[in-house]
């Protein structure tokens, strides 16, 4: 059953992808990852699931302060420095001690001395939020949507806990890292969705990302979300017809010629999108592909078809 809102490519059980508490949204810069993350978070909130949307180092809001956006939806912007400091305070068991030792340039150096520690502590903060419980014992958040950092290999953030556990092996950091890595890798607890565009570079990067993610086994991939997908007007028959018409019709009427030119342009654009979609399908293998829709109405979400 294909819903007009859903581009269902493979018969994978798509509902499965959105049941986990941790929902990572990955993708390179400029693909619209933040919009998709917000939309997904909105969707969950609308399902009456207590949802936390986590942004990493965005330019908005005071870092590490949770604020309520609307009913069932909170958001927090994590800053790596703030998370690193919070973690160290936690480990030192005393804010006063921390200030005594760390509130100075040496602390900065120490934090940066261990590359990746700031990313690890951000993941730690996210993991911490996933373990928070309400007074009645239920989880504080049913869903945590993470708008992942778009930098570097993209995988670094997902792999950081495993890397630290491998390296440290003993000690509080290793212990915490192990817990984080286990949660992230657990297909019942977390999924990684990838946002892309049907353009050469994003599709190429998405293919690489999926490949590396599966190899590293750091986390289970979820859905591939295609953003800014254009409308498809010309099917194969019409495409051929159009080409023939271009050849047959002498450009007597300039308006007609202009219209045909626009049509040809649209066809070219569609061909490029189709080409990229094929490459993406190959790379995505059994992962379902979603088309993301920018819905304006409050009760319409691009994942509404999941119901």
């Amino acid at each position: 059953m294909i819903s007009h809102k859903l581009l269902w490519v493979f018969g994978a059980n798509v509902h499965q992808m959105f049941q986990q508490q941790l929902q990572f949204v990955c993708g390179k810069g400029g693909v619209g990852k933040s919009t998709v993350s917000l939309s997904l978070a909105n969707y969950f909130a609308h399902q009456r699931l207590r949802t936390l949307l986590v942004e990493v180092n965005s330019l908005s809001g005071t870092p590490n302060v949770i604020r309520e956006l609307q009913k069932n939806l909170w958001t927090v912007n994590l800053s790596p420095d703030a998370c690193a400091r919070e973690y160290l305070v936690l480990k030192l068991h005393s804010e006063r001690l921390y200030k005594l030792v760390f509130d100075n340039p040496v602390a900065d150096a120490c934090i940066r001395f261990i590359p990746g520690l700031d990313q690890l502590t951000m993941m730690g903060k996210i993991w911490f939020h996933s373990t928070e419980k309400r007074v009645n014992g239920k989880p504080q958040y049913d869903r945590i949507v993470i708008d992942c950092p778009a930098t570097g290999h993209g995988l670094a953030f997902l792999e950081v806990a495993q890397i630290f556990y491998d390296a440290a092996k003993h000690g509080p950091i290793a212990h915490d890292a192990q817990l984080m890595a286990q949660t992230i890798a657990d297909p019942e607890k977390s999924r990684v969705h990838i946002v892309t565009l049907l353009e050469e570079l994003p599709v190429h990067e998405t293919s690489e990302f999926i490949k590396c993610l599966c190899l590293s086994q750091a986390a289970m991939p979820g859905a591939v979300v295609i953003n800014r997908l254009g409308t498809r007007i010309f099917n194969e028959t019409l495409a051929v017809e159009l080409s023939n018409t271009m050849i047959d019709t002498p450009s007597v009427d300039p308006d007609l010629a202009a219209a045909l030119e626009i049509a040809q342009d649209q066809l070219f654009f569609e061909k490029q999108q189709t080409e990229q979609l094929q490459i993406l399908r190959l790379a995505a293998d059994e992962l379902p592909l979603f088309k993301f829709l920018h819905e304006r109405k409050a009760d319409e979400y691009p994942f509404a078809a999941l119901n």
Partner: protein, 350 residues
């Protein structure tokens, strides 16, 4: 309306910025050809370009040194700045032998630092660019990576620099006399006492050792690079250097362009102009269609889609005045029948 030539007047270094997908690389190639037409010995440096753009300039992955471009008759030089390989290339150059280099490549912190720490690749890119700027090109066009926040390329090296500059870094990376006895902290007595057991308890295993190894190595590497990176950043501030912001008439690209312009102004970096790329012709044809067939229905639909796009474009273009940029160049959307090389030829006329 300004021309592309105006963007290049009196410039030796032009940095092309903008969010992903706005046509930066094509524009960089166009500006390079334009520069050559103006009689300048021009080099275009591109970062991680798509395949068809590598084809445009006749480049392959191996072309990490300037090479004369054969796809255009004008004398243009081009190269790929492979940020991913830049660090490894540097290590290979500076290592005594392959074994030493391999030991470094195997260090997990080296891998993490050069691949994933924000700023490290931009940092080494500055070093390479400084080198290039000292060669005898009249004009260098720098195509920046398609980041979401295109300003990352400017900010990124500073994170690395600010860390390296700190005295503490030098202290921390000195080789310890005993196993962890003086974990580099010869600062103030009480800090030493407090830090040591903390460090030991917190980061057990080989983690610390590898970490120290990495920083010891980097002290050797960083010092020469720091100077050159700073020098390049200085170069960006000079009067012969300028930035060009590229955008298309789409909401996300325009929003990013707006942020970018603001950031450039804040840093007092020269903005030589804004290029609005992929501008659709506003003329919407309304012909009488020959027949009511599926084909003509489709053509009509395509025209309607174009009409919508033009409406959006018109609204967005109005906002450009608010950016307060003196030179704005409009480049047309190129027809599908043009090859990339022909396309650049057309754009050079603007």
């Amino acid at each position: 309306m300004s021309t592309l030539s105006q963007l290049l007047t009196d410039k030796r270094l032009v940095v092309v910025t903008g969010t992903g997908g706005v046509g930066k690389t094509t524009l960089s190639a166009t500006l390079a050809v334009k520069g050559a037409q103006l009689g300048k010995k021009t080099l275009v440096v591109t970062i991680d370009p798509a395949q068809r753009l590598k084809d445009l300039l006749g480049l392959t992955e191996a072309d990490t040194q300037p090479k004369r471009v054969t796809t255009f008759s004008e004398p243009v030089y081009a190269m790929i700045l492979d940020m991913g390989r830049a660090w490894d290339d540097l290590i290979l150059r500076m290592s005594a032998d392959k074994k030493q280099a391999q030991a470094i490549f195997d260090n997990r912190f080296y891998r993490y630092f050069t691949r994933d720490v924000v700023g490290s690749q931009e940092f080494i890119a500055c070093d390479i660019l400084y080198e290039l700027a000292s060669l005898d090109y009249d004009l260098i066009i720098l195509d920046t990576p398609p980041a979401q926040h295109a300003i990352d390329f400017l900010d990124a090296p500073n994170r690395i620099l600010s860390f390296i500059d700190q005295k503490a870094f030098h202290v921390l990376s000195k080789p310890p006399k005993s196993r962890l006895a003086q974990f580099g902290l010869r600062l103030v007595g009480r800090w030493t006492g407090l830090m040591q057991p903390f460090a030991e308890k917190l980061v057990g295993g080989t983690l610390l050792r590898e970490c120290i190894e990495f920083w010891q190595l980097s002290q050797v590497l960083f010092t020469p690079i720091v100077e050159r990176t700073k020098a390049f950043q200085q170069m960006l501030q000079e009067s012969h250097s300028a930035f060009v912001v590229v955008t298309t008439p789409h909401a996300h690209a325009m929003a990013e362009a707006s942020v970018l312009i603001e950031q450039l102004r804040k840093r007092q970096l020269r903005l030589s102009g804004l290029v609005l790329n992929n501008v659709l012709s506003a003329r919407i044809p309304k012909p009488p269609y020959p027949a009511e067939t599926a084909l003509w229905d489709a053509v009509l639909q395509a025209v309607q889609v174009r009409e919508q796009a033009v409406a959006v474009q018109t609204q967005l273009v109005k906002k450009i005045d608010a950016f307060g940029v003196e030179s704005v160049v409009h480049l047309p959307h190129l027809g599908a029948q043009l090859s990339p090389v022909e396309g650049v030829g057309v754009l050079c006329g603007y």
